[in-house]
Each structure stands twice: as C-alpha cells, then as structure tokens.
C-alpha cells in the first residue's frame, strides 16, 4: 500500500478575466486545469514545466494560499475542504511553503529571529524551551549561526536568506514542504549548498517535498518522482528514472532535448560543428520546438500540446486542419488522459500516441 502524505484530485484553478466598466468576467485563465497527483511520505516529487504552465498556482493551492476553483487536496487522507476552520488550520501547519525569491519573500523590517519565529506567534504556539531557543535550534538546523538572529535580511546573502526561508517553513514541524523554485535565484555554487541542505533535512526529519523547478538537472538530482506540466495539465508523471531515461510524451522529450548539457561533444545543431550527432539529450540532434506555449486563456482543443507537438505531424494519421498544420484528428478533438504506459505501472503519459513512441524508439 502506498503511504500518501499529500494527494490532489482533479484540482482546478480558473482566474476570471474581467473587462469593461462592469468588470464582467469575459473569459478564464485556466492556470490549473484538472491535476491529480500523489506525494509519498519521505519522498520528493519534482514538478517541471515552462513558465506559465501553472506550477506556482498549483503550489499555492497545496499550501492553502489560494482556494481551488474545484477539486480536492488531501493531507494524510483528509480532505482539507471538508474540515472545520480549526481543523483546516491544524492541517495547514503540516504543509509549508518555501518561496523562490529570497530577496522579496522575507519582510525587510523584521529580524531573522522574528521571521523564523513568526509562525509560532501566528499559531499561538509556545514551543518547549521557549521561542528563542526554538528559533536558535531552527537556525542551527539550516546551517546558520543562532547568534545572527538579531540581524536583518539585507545582511544575508541570497543563499543564506533561502536558509532563513527554510528555517521558517520548518518552525511548525510540517510533514510537507512545498518548494517553489527554491534555488532558481541563486548562483550555481550556492545552489548546491541549498539542495544538499534540503536533502539532509529530508533524511533527518522524514520530510516530503513537492519541488517546483524549471531546471531539469536540479530536479533530477533531488526528486524521486517527476511530474511534467503543460498549460495547466500534467502530461507525464512517474519515477525519476522512467521520466528522464524513457520519456514518452513528445513534450517531455522536447524539454529534455532542449536542456543544454555541459559537454562540448553535444553541440548546437546550427553551429559550425562537425561533431557526430548523438542520442544524448541536448541541443545537437535535439528537438527544437516551434513557437511559444499558447495562452492559458484559450488553450488549444483536444491535446493542449497539439499546436507545438513535433510528433503529431509525422504520424500516418495526420491530416491537415484549418491552420495548415497536419495532425491526427484525435489530437485536436480529444483530451488525452494521463494513463499508465511503459514498463513501470507508475509511469503515466497523456498522449494518444505514446504507445507508438515506444515502438518506434524516437529516442535515437
């Protein structure tokens, strides 16, 4: 039996787009459009996707900063929306957030000690041994000097500020940390320090992480499982090795192939290179997608990826639609369900033709 600490069922968030004098809602931004996922206890689920795909919106709903339009969030099997106010507050303590930008997410007028201890005040909790001692312990836990509790955020570097944010999130002994791009704003040399800290804390405290990032290398390093988001939906999900080594969704494949790899043997296709094409991910021999992700206000019908999919036009079923791009009709009419594919039962893909992908081995 699986031990799910956090579950999300058919979660939806639509933001109304208002126009005119009466601020009438004329359309909706479908920021998150039916996402289901499970975070196992003590594990890390990585969430990747391009800008605007809905990662932060999903993260905010998980910690309760944002109310879902529909769908459920379950913490330890309990549906958050069905609890009383008090029950909800209690459950919310179990799921805490670490934000992307260590420069703006900390109140500049509060000392670091006040910032880290604030959750105690908010929840009216007096930790054993007193708040002061608890704050000192938390700072120590994240590798900061407890004597620096009286300093202010501007006196700390980006990496140190991110540690402050982590210490604060840990104050109420949560079960889950939702980390939204926690290392994106940091220099490479400092990024690794924070990633190592998060991994140590997980081992020490048995924490579970939902880790949002656009850096696929970072996610591969830290995550046990990975979910790929596109236009508010999950297009692929599974154990880290399955998603990275045998990606089956054309979008995941394109994403992986676009990641520049630190190996000069893998060169940019258009460059004056004579290096032989390789099957490795990277720019050379890579799939370069056309255009930008479409607007979530008016996402494409059927498969949301069909306007950029590199695979669809190559399929025998492809036929021209009005826009001049020939793709199989089913890609335009039917939303593909996220269904198990491939070797591992836990590996799920939302593509009508993912099976064929395996057969033809597009990887090469």
């Amino acid at each position: 039996m699986s031990d799910a600490v956090l579950q999300v069922r058919e979660l939806v968030k639509h933001y109304p787009v208002r126009r005119g004098l009466l601020r009438r809602s004329v359309a909706a931004v479908k920021a998150v459009d039916g996402v289901s996922l499970t975070l196992e206890r003590g594990r890390t689920l990585g969430l990747v996707g391009e800008s605007g795909s809905g990662k932060s919106t999903l993260a905010r709903m998980l910690v309760g900063i944002e109310a879902p339009t529909s769908g459920q969030v379950l913490v330890d099997g309990e549906d958050v929306s069905r609890l009383s106010r008090a029950g909800r507050k209690q459950l919310r303590r179990d799921v805490q957030m670490v934000f992307q930008d260590p420069y703006t997410s900390l109140n500049p007028r509060m000392s670091v000690g006040e910032i880290v201890g604030e959750p105690f005040a908010i929840h009216g909790i007096d930790p054993a041994g007193g708040r002061r001692a608890a704050v000192g312990e938390l700072l120590e836990l994240v590798g900061l000097d407890p004597d620096h509790a009286s300093r202010y955020p501007h006196q700390f570097s980006g990496g140190q500020r991110q540690r402050v944010g982590i210490a604060r999130a840990l104050a109420l002994r949560p079960k889950v940390l939702v980390c939204d791009e926690p290392v994106s704003a940091l220099d490479v040399s400092v990024q690794g320090q924070v990633i190592n800290l998060l991994e140590d804390l997980q081992d020490e405290l048995g924490l579970s992480y939902l880790f949002v990032a656009h850096d696929l290398g970072v996610v591969r390093h830290i995550a046990h499982d990975v979910a790929v988001m596109y236009l508010g939906r999950l297009v692929e999900q599974g154990p880290e090795t399955d998603v990275y080594d045998t990606a089956q969704h054309p979008y995941t494949q394109a994403l992986l192939s676009a990641v520049p790899v630190p190996d000069p043997a893998v060169r940019l296709a258009a460059g004056p290179s004579t290096g032989a094409p390789t099957a490795q991910p990277g720019l050379l021999g890579g799939i370069v997608l056309e255009g930008d992700p479409p607007s979530p206000v008016d996402p494409p019908s059927g498969c949301p990826f069909h306007t950029r999919c590199w695979l669809a036009p190559t399929l025998p079923e492809a036929r021209a639609d009005g826009d001049g791009r020939a793709v199989p009709e089913v890609c335009v009419t039917d939303v593909p369900a996220l269904a198990p594919r491939g070797a591992a039962a836990a590996h799920a893909v939302a593509c009508h033709f993912a099976r064929e992908l395996v057969a033809t081995g597009v990887e090469a």
């Binding site: 490479v188 290398g217 080594d245 994403l255 190996d263 060169r267 460059g271």
Partner: protein, 354 residues
C-alpha cells in the same frame, strides 16, 4: 579531448589580429562605501566567425566589462585601466560621442532583459530602424522594408504585420529576437550578448541560441556570449573565459577546458552542475559544492581572490596574486598551481609559476 572540432569555422590563426581585443580592463564605481573595483584586469579576444563565452557567477563583472567596451557605463563608473581594440582602434581612448558612434555600428550589444530595453510606446518596427533612420538617413518606406527584413532574419513569423505591433504584444522569446534584430541592423562585426536567454524557457532558449549561432556563422561575426550556464557554453562556444571577482581566471578553447580545467574554480563549477543525464541516479550522492560565496568587490580577499573557497589553496595563495599565465599551449589560468590542476594532481607545495 578536443571534442568540438570546428572544421567549418576558420582555424584560429594564432597571430591573426583579433576583431576585438580587451586588455587589462579595470572599472571602478564610486559608491557610498567608497570606491569598488568591479572589473580588475580583464583580458580577452574574439576572432571573426568565432564565439567567445564569458562565464561567471553574478557580480563577477561580466555586464560591467561589456558596458565599458560599449561606452555605456553609468556616470558613477570609470574605466581606470586597459584598452578595448576593435580592429586596432582603442575604443576606450575615443571621446564618448565617437565611442558610441563606433559601437552600434561595428559592435552591438543584446541585453538580458529585452522588455526593459524596448520602449513600450513605440512600435517594434520604429525601434528596429531608429538608428538606421538617424545614422543612415533612411526614408520611412525604406526603414519599414528594412524592419520587415530584420524580423524575417530573426524568424519572427508574419513579420509584415508584426512590425506594427508594440513590445508588450510580443512573448519573451519574440522580444529577444527583436533585440537581436535591432543589434544586427547596422551589420556589426562583433555582437556582445549579455545573458540573452537567461530569462527564457529552455525550449525557447534553444530556439534563440540556434538563431544566434546561424546568424553568427553566416556573417562570420565575432560573438561574445555572456552566460552563467555551463551547459549553454558547452553547446555554443569556441573559446571560454571564466571570470571570478572581476578577473579572468581561466581561458581556453571549449573542448580542452571541459576535458581538463586548469583552475580550481572552473573545476569546482563543472563538478557542481546537477545533470539530467542521470550519472548519479539512485545514489542521490551529495552535490559537490563550492563552500562560501562569491566575494563582493568591496571585500575582495587578499592574494588569490578564490583562496577562501579553494579546495587546494596553499599558504602562498593568501598573499600572492596569481598571474594569468599558460600552463600549456592555448591554455591560460590564474592559479599558482595551474599545471598541477591541469594534470589533476595535488599541488606541489611551494608553488611554481609555470
């Protein structure tokens, strides 16, 4: 090994005059806390048809040095040393007006934040040809035709209609294409691109990098690509300059640099990148990290500025500034123990300036 054999590109004729040669550049800022040296003796060279990547962490001086070359430094900054020769002419010795005239025509720059660099109240077409109209006296009709040509060049779909649109109607990737088009308007010999893809998603970054590489190869332009992403460097650069604390700490052709770095900082950076290739799969071994953080220019360590973070630092490193010298042909490293680092053996204490 010398993996990226650049057969199609011209071989670097060793003593061929480089297009752009920056020598011993130093830039200071006047700040409330006194004078800080943001760039402290930077040298690099770019040849026609080749791409030089400048890598470094934030604050290492990448942008400030480029702005100095372009004559675009803020009034609080001053070039205190060095030269920047474009085909022999020292740009830094020119009067400000001449300097700016030179740049824009022969050296152009693309900035990281395309939205901030574009004027929201003018159409994209207007901005693309502003300089052309001012400097070359193009008529409105000719300017519009040229703007469409430029947008076509950078593969903005439907250029004819889009020249009439405003920057906010363009996506991030399309805006960066507009910036590139605008930099190309005068047919520059050298293009300096400062983190041109840092704000973009990977799939869009791949498009923009591919476009830059195509244009560069076609025009045999010298390209200076500034980035902090060692993956991008490996994908597009011919030569690499690694910056730390306002200086170049290592310079080498891209293949040899990745195969065997000659500076401990480069070596540590390369080790610290989490890979998508899954080399550490299952094991979740700790990421090798560089302790501490990059120094601020106001508090630069004595001796080798990297010494507080270096895993092989010796006594000598705390007092003596290591010069940028060659431990091997075509290799430069500012480390007292460059030869040992290059050979991947522990430093011989005492240090030899080889």
């Amino acid at each position: 090994m010398s993996a990226p054999s650049q057969a199609a590109a011209p071989q670097p004729v060793a003593e061929e005059t480089p297009l752009l040669e920056v020598t011993d550049l130093a830039v200071e800022f006047r700040t409330a806390e006194g004078t800080v040296r943001a760039v402290d003796g930077l040298s690099y060279r770019v040849e026609a048809g080749r791409t030089l990547a400048i890598v470094g962490e934030s604050g290492s001086g990448k942008s400030v040095s480029s702005l100095a070359v372009m004559g675009l430094l803020p009034p609080t900054a001053r070039v205190t040393r060095g030269s920047a020769r474009l085909a022999g002419t020292d740009l830094l010795a020119l009067r400000p007006r001449q300097h700016r005239a030179y740049c824009g025509e022969r050296v152009a720059m693309v900035f990281q934040d395309a939205l901030a660099a574009l004027n929201p109240v003018h159409t994209v077409g207007y901005q693309l040809t502003e300089a052309l109209r001012a400097r070359r006296g193009l008529s409105r009709a000719d300017a519009r035709a040229r703007a469409i040509e430029l947008l076509d060049l950078v593969k903005v779909p439907n250029a004819r209609a889009r020249v009439k649109e405003y920057p906010h109607q363009f996506s991030g990737g399309m805006r960066q294409r507009v910036m590139i088009a605008s930099a190309l308007a005068m047919d520059p010999e050298v293009l300096i691109a400062d983190e041109p893809t840092t704000a973009l998603d990977v799939t869009v970054q791949a498009q923009v990098l591919q476009l830059l590489a195509e244009i560069q190869a076609e025009r045999r332009m010298g390209l200076v690509l500034i980035t902090h992403d060692l993956g991008v460097v490996a994908g597009v650069a011919d030569d690499v300059t690694v910056m730390y604390a306002g200086r170049a700490v290592e310079q080498a052709p891209v293949g040899p640099l990745y195969a065997a770095p000659a500076h401990p900082y480069t070596r540590a950076l390369l080790r610290s990148i989490p890979s998508t290739a899954g080399a550490d799969r299952g094991t979740r071994r700790r990421l090798p990290v560089i302790p501490g953080r990059p120094p601020s220019p106001a508090a630069r360590p004595s001796g080798c500025p990297f010494h507080p973070r270096c895993d092989v630092a010796q006594d000598l490193c705390r007092t003596e500034v290591p010069p940028l010298t060659g431990p091997a042909p075509a290799r430069l490293s500012a480390c007292h123990f460059a030869a040992d680092v290059l050979a991947n053996r522990p430093p011989e204490t005492g240090g030899t300036h080889e």
